[in-house]
Symmetry: C2
Subunit: 799 residues, 2 copies
């Protein structure tokens, strides 16, 4: 049950379009939301979709993944082991800023008389366009066209083209192209814990500011974290008339002022190249040199070459990662929610495109909960990556999935340190972090979420099983397996009260409305997998991988008896189960809580966390997000279909969906247990999470996990794709309002195309020679060149 | 089990003395601790036992109960309903400050060559004395004698006498008598959550500063809470030689400088009268006028009259409240712990004397956890007053008990407001507060302690039953009964999972090592009493007290069906019980926690809260303080003796006693279940909590609750005194090392003297005509003039 009112952006402003996100009017009411959605990013560098002129803007942010400031967390009441180091993504200097003066009149979107306006994020080319027709009070008509991109090909580069044409008069045009750092960018005060806090003082200090002609360079260093940043811009100016340029610098503010006296019909075009480099160790001046080299290279190629590279990159992405849907024109469910099939397709692609933007070049960094589209959650990395984003990457771009796992594994030393601090063996990964240190100031919905350890291992296993990349498992993964297994073994205990079963108490599962509980089913199941998988891999290495095994022993001090202990704990894991009702209990306490009065909770009281004291929420039988239901998806082979049905029927009505991580999973499981209409509705909610601003907080950034979840809801939901123990299977069922769905999966080096209609599924191998999987339980051995069209027989399950 | 090393202050410095706390050397190692213990206070105004010269000092504090500054609590991660208003007692201007110069050499305790030193808190007179003999490098010998008191008779008054005699030379003596406000008094930084935080900026602003001759006056106002303070001092100077006085004022610092050229053997004596008035509403200048009137009156009477009034007040206190113990010279337990019987008596009286000082004039204010002896817990009022301090007052000075209840009831409107904020009916009193607003920044061990409501009602009931003051019950108490009962009814629910029993989930009991639990036995029992008592009183009023009942209905909007609901909830209250073991379960989760590894926890790791993450503590079966065991004392008639034994045997080994509120209760219950040696040891721990600094934090103030608990451990413990439903009973048993114990109780207007020996108990009425009670289960009807000596038969119970 999702307690929300859907309100789509108005279609006359935001029309459906298969490949483009379009805005046809300057529309202040949705400005903050679309500033997020029009963000351009490559996963390292992100620029929010604020206008070039810098205002009006909700937040004019330029974000660099991992580039953060730290601060000591001041707890209102201190206690041992509370997180100490706050970490917040820093808003870097704004390089895209362009100010325009025609006839000495400043161009201001807010006040201008706009005779034309269109903004388009073209998802086929990866470029953000804007075209404006501005009429001055004097009747002069000015066309302003811009294109901008954050390069997917060149990690440290962005570029924009800003072209001004005066249509009906001879006038002086002045363009001020700027590089500006706003130390006190004003984050609005908010009591919402999901919003980033504003810093009190100055976050960065200027270490260097220089210019050479139209090239502006700035170097910064953060106050506390000591991270450094270089940023630079350079320009190419073209015009029929002579352009005069002048460079001005003051603190935090460098400008190139371009002045041209144009005649009617003539243009000034400024192409601006922008580069950012950040570091934990290199001095700012060295980074500035790197930015200049990046600029030199980019300018040699020119803007059009960049655009072409961008298009190729995006095209390659769509080739492996697109989902195509076609609806039936007369279907009713879709029209109710989305209006048209173009819009469904558009919204799906917006989801996928933003995952691309959040991950493509996230090399050596993580994926913040909001990608680089906003400051929400302060740019922290959570379990979102492993459970919601990695599936998409593992099955479409495993190379990127590996990068992200590698980055996570790089934080192992911090995780060991944190475990020591908590008096525990092994390693405990931070619930939320940028630099690896625990940054969760609220332990009940933070540190207590020990499942992060198992989530990471789960993703590793999925990656290895989908790719067959065992070298990565043995060389990078095994150490993480050992340390996480150690933590679980140390955390839990064999309880006399539970017949000697292994119990894990005082933890929080995914559902943050039930915290610090005993035997959270999700956690216990995932911990069991973690323990089993660690034991299995270590034992396999002991027999088959002597050298790597020796190295592992050396790095971890592992002794054989530990492995036996892991297995014993896993084998004897306690799982709370209600024998009478035949349902898995979310945790030991759950059934004993007070029923929540859903009937008398009006929609505006959701999400509950903003309207009720945590104690009141925790006291009640109410769920924020899929918990047992998520376990039923992730570890689907450990539940019978009947159990899944009963569990879903029990938990779904108690689930508010107050977390954006919920509806995608609810959709998949509703589909699996045969509740097709509900599955369809949840799918829409997932897909529309940001486009319809269901959570009401898209202004703070896209929900990247929900976007990954949307892909999962289509692929795992509609095609029934599962991957247990390295065996792939499909059990498709297409909703009644959909004519066809097609997508591609990368499995063990093969590229598999899947095309589903109401009646049949067609599988074909686009890369690779052979691939084995099951369709509706039957084995299929697919070979290159011979597509298999198989009937969908179970398409009318109990609804 | 208490995991502590006892370290008594060295006897050669702090010798035993029945009536006096004595310090025979300037002893820096114990300075901070004895600065606390030498505090003088009347419950409204308190001056820490720092030396007159102002240094060296741990914290030179002057505290006025209720005079606080507020600040917005910044939560590291914000959530709905979290406490918003921090409140901290303000360190007022220091009026006792005296600086001494002889021969222009400043007197500094730290550096002086002391030929004699003694400091004495005389508990028979209520005066703090100091005598020092100082030898200057020149060989000149100076005697410095001072006496000081915070008047118990005059609430707003303190006074000191400072007498300097030069024994062997003619020299100039200069005494600078000061009134000084130190805006940035430096609280040491601490990660200990029990320590008050230092303010960042200036807390108070000077609104007025004036002088007239040797009278200095200052008026202040706090920055945020808007509270006002007037303080003033005046002087009487006497000397054989002419004294020259000069007054100097600068910001926050007023001085009278007294200069006398004395001859050998002559003295200068400065008598300083000090007055403080504080307010929430009156302007500072008005308060300053009040201080001057207080000074005028005091100076008319003079210092000796003040001392005499003080002595009378204290004597009256001891007459009703003293406990006298006599030990057997050859006993072994006492000597092990305390060394001698004088010391036991001394330590007991230190406990009682500090309760006197914390409560005597606490009119219209509460009793901070540390009284007015330090800044620990920021001067907040907790449940300590109702459960640990009020018993002493109810049975010795019921008038003061009533004042304190009245003050608590005055916060009812805040409690209603807090309940509304938490979406609940009725009223919820703040867990910690000064002004009535919840100030607990850590809800798990704060707001979740709903039992505060029932604790207040419990104290009210005890007061009414001990005094027979039913008018107070009907006129002031009834409204609180209604609103607290409403809260309980609304908080809990009839659970299908528990056979329709009434469950209270998601709360924290007294034991702060098990938080946010379901069905905490203590809470459920106390809530049941609250509900029953509320129903009973309302029904009695309905039939017998029409007018008061109408008024109650008018004030609360009570409807009759509510009362039936309270009774139904109470009658069906769920109490977790282990049928097999025959023990009450502390809460639903407790048995399922992981056993704590006591064996491998070294003493220095206690208190656990300073060394382990809350999650780790909460995960384990480990207890901070008596919880079920406390319920067994407070509601002793609801447990069988066998249950008490089994419960005690189960819980005692799991109890760390990390809270100072624990050992006193453990002592009483150990005694009741026949574990005499253990009871005796816990009694020593309770009595020595501050004198031996068992908690290691006496520097932040006395543990007033533990002091009250010490009285309880003697009276309820040794005499077995109980008061259930208004029936008094005794079941004395005197430990083997004690020859006799005697004390007095005020019961229903009678003053009862109780004298216990190993063999018999003697009861006599000192005031009142008749009193009925039970001795060892037998009815006794005591009449004035006829003491009853009754044998103690059960003195050899199973140990």
């Amino acid at each position: 049950m999702l307690q929300r009112q859907l309100e789509l952006p108005p279609r006359h402003v935001y029309p459906p379009d298969e490949w483009r996100l379009v805005e046809r009017e300057f529309y202040p009411r949705r400005m903050a939301q679309f500033e997020t959605l029009f963000s351009t990013s490559n996963g390292y560098l992100g620029i929010r979709g604020a206008h070039e002129e810098g205002e009006p803007a909700f937040q004019n942010a330029t974000l660099i993944s991992g580039f953060h400031e730290t601060w000591p967390i001041a707890h209102a009441e201190e206690a041992y082991g509370f997180a100490k180091t706050g970490q917040t993504l820093v808003n870097a200097p704004d390089a895209k800023r362009m100010r325009l003066y025609v006839d000495d009149e400043p161009f201001s979107l807010r006040h201008a008389n706009l005779k034309g306006y269109e903004r388009v994020l073209d998802m086929r080319t990866g470029i953000l366009h804007r075209e404006i027709l501005w009429e001055l009070a004097s009747g002069k008509l000015v066309s302003i066209k811009s294109r901008r991109l954050v390069s997917l090909e060149h990690r440290h580069l962005a570029a924009l083209e800003y072209e001004v044409t005066v249509l009906n008069a001879d006038v002086p045009v002045v363009i001020s192209s700027e590089l500006v750092y706003e130390p006190h960018d004003s984050l609005p005060e908010s009591a919402d814990p999901r919003v980033a806090r504003a810093f009190d003082g100055r976050v960065m200090h200027c270490r260097l500011q220089r210019s050479r002609g139209p090239r502006l360079v700035m170097g910064y260093e953060t106050e506390r974290s000591g991270m450094t940043l270089g940023c630079a811009v350079d320009h190419v100016i073209s015009s029929e008339r002579q352009a005069r340029t002048e460079t001005r610098e003051r603190e935090d503010h460098s400008r190139v002022i371009i002045s041209v006296d144009v005649r009617a019909g003539e243009s000034v075009r400024v192409t601006k190249f922008m580069s950012y480099h950040s570091s934990r160790t290199s001095p700012a001046d060295e980074l500035c040199e790197r930015t200049e080299r990046t600029l030199d290279r980019a300018m040699t190629g020119g803007f059009e070459a960049l655009c072409e590279g961008q298009r190729r990159f995006v095209q390659a992405f769509w080739e492996r990662s697109d989902i195509q849907v076609r609806g039936k024109p007369d279907a009713d469910i879709s029209s109710e929610v989305l209006g048209s099939w173009e819009q469904s397709q558009q919204v799906l692609r917006v989801n996928l495109f933003h995952i691309l933007q959040a991950t493509a070049r996230a090399e050596g960094v993580g994926v913040p909960a909001k990608g680089l589209t906003g400051m929400g959650y302060e740019g922290h990395y959570f379990w979102d990556t492993e459970i919601y984003v990695l599936p998409f990457l593992i099955y479409t771009e495993p190379r990127i999935a590996k990068n992200l796992l590698q980055h996570r594994f790089g934080l192992l030393e911090h995780a060991r340190e944190r475990a020591r601090e908590l008096n525990q063996k092994g390693a405990l990964f931070a619930w939320r972090t940028i630099n690896g240190e625990e940054a969760s100031a609220y332990y009940a919905a933070g540190t207590a979420q020990y499942h992060i350890n198992a989530d990471i291992v789960y993703a590793l296993r999925k990656y290895v099983e989908a790719t067959g990349d065992e070298a990565f498992l043995y060389e990078s993964g095994a150490e993480v397996l050992v340390e996480t297994a150690r933590l679980w073994r140390d955390l839990g205990f064999f309880s006399e009260q539970r017949d000697g079963r292994f119990c894990i108490v005082g933890v929080t599962g995914p559902d943050e409305y039930n915290t610090v509980v005993n035997n959270n089913t999700f956690t216990n199941l995932m911990a069991r997998e973690n323990l089993w998988f660690a034991a299995q891999v270590v034992e396999r290495m002991r027999t088959d991988e002597h050298e790597r095994y020796e190295s592992l022993i050396h790095r971890t001090g592992l002794v054989e008896s530990e492995v036996d202990e892991w297995r014993r704990a896993a084998d004897r894991m306690f799982l709370p189960y209600d024998e009478d009702a035949g349902i898995h209990i979310q945790d030991d306490h759950f059934p004993f809580r007070k029923p929540w009065d859903f009937e008398n909770t009006p929609p505006e009281k959701y999400p509950l966390l903003l309207h009720y004291h945590p104690l009141e929420i925790y006291r009640h039988r109410v769920i924020k997000q899929a918990d047992v239901v998520l376990a039923m998806f992730l570890l689907g082979d450990e539940f019978s279909l009947e159990e899944k049905r009963r569990n879903f029927d029990y938990y779904d009505p108690l689930t508010t969906g107050d977390s954006s991580l919920s509806v995608c999973i609810q959709s998949i499981m509703a589909r699996e247990v045969g509740l097709d209409a509900k599955a369809r509705q949840y799918l829409s909610y997932a897909a529309l999470m940001d486009y319809a601003d269901i959570g009401g907080n898209v202004n703070d950034g896209c929900h990247i996990a929900s976007m990954g979840g949307t892909w999962m809801a289509v692929v795992h939901g509609l095609s029934g794709f599962r991957d247990y123990d390295g065996s792939f299977s499909f059990a498709p069922r297409v909703p009644g309002d959909i004519e066809s769905v097609s997508f591609r999966l990368t499995l063990r080096g093969c590229l598999l195309a899947v095309e589903l209609s109401q009646e049949q599924a067609t599988y074909s191998l686009l890369e690779g020679e052979t691939l084995a999987f099951r369709h509706e339980g039957e084995k299929v051995e697919l070979v290159a060149g011979t597509p298999a069209s198989l009937p969908i027989t179970r398409r009318r399950a109990a609804a």
